[in-house]
Symmetry: C2
Subunit: 142 residues, 2 copies
Amino acid sequence: MLSKKTQYAFHALIHLAENADKGPILISEIAQEKSISIKFLENILLELKNAGILGSKKGKGGGYYLLKTPKEIPLAKIIRLLDGAIALLPCVSLNYYEKCENCRDEAVCGLNDVMGKVRDATLKILETKTLKDILTRNVSIL
Amino acid sequence: MLSKKTQYAFHALIHLAENADKGPILISEIAQEKSISIKFLENILLELKNAGILGSKKGKGGGYYLLKTPKEIPLAKIIRLLDGAIALLPCVSLNYYEKCENCRDEAVCGLNDVMGKVRDATLKILETKTLKDILTRNVSIL
DNA sequence: ATAAACTCTATAAAAAAGATAGGCTTTTTT
DNA sequence: AAAAAAGCCTATCTTTTTTATAGAGTTTAT
């Protein structure tokens, strides 16, 4: 299951994409629109900013905005940023790999093999599908 | 990520399958062999028993054993039993479905759509691959 | 200057995961 | 019949993770 953090991030990004023509969007606006605690959302948007996905502007008229077009933001990137590994086991994770404790040889491990296949099938979708694919409205900046 | 509980369950089931010819296997043997806390493992094996996957025998000469052949035990079944939903979002879970809070119409929700595809791709593997597929040794009772 | 709005770090509360404890029941052996 | 072996069951505890909050700091527009 994706954490609330990741789910909120998706909703916030959707809102930003769908209102990209309106200039910087207030945290408070997104929080209200998507029913997210404003302080919690603040942290999430900051992470997205630090990851180079969002830009921000301080002071009056400030807010957050996308730094890339929706189709340049793969869903896998968001999940990894906020939730960490996508794979079901540490030993098949591409970005958060950890060796199994009791496993002598991963090359001969049946679990490793199957979970690697699950990872591949999942990533095939999550790395090609982007923010653009989860928007409700059609946005012109595609 | 799969929980330790599910990972331990897989390891225990593998041990049981690979020693199916030796009659009931002690919890303590599995625990030692797989480096799992004996008391924690006890709970896990009990859940597997209550789910009809394992049988047990009390008293001297007792222990646990598979009630089905490895190829009759899909990996998805074990994961659902110990970890719950396999899907990434509650609103696309087949077995643990919950409606989204803010979602007006799932039929038009892009996230729902993509996560549904991820679920399908994952289940296609986890429901066809079985305990048999993660065994190291070849076991005759296939 | 002042107010608006994001920034940063710390902390707290709640939930989940992981682990342990101990008495109970069943079965086998003596 | 008693004792020992082994699983059964339920409760509790500890640790970690997740979720949420707080508040002082910084930047920018007016």
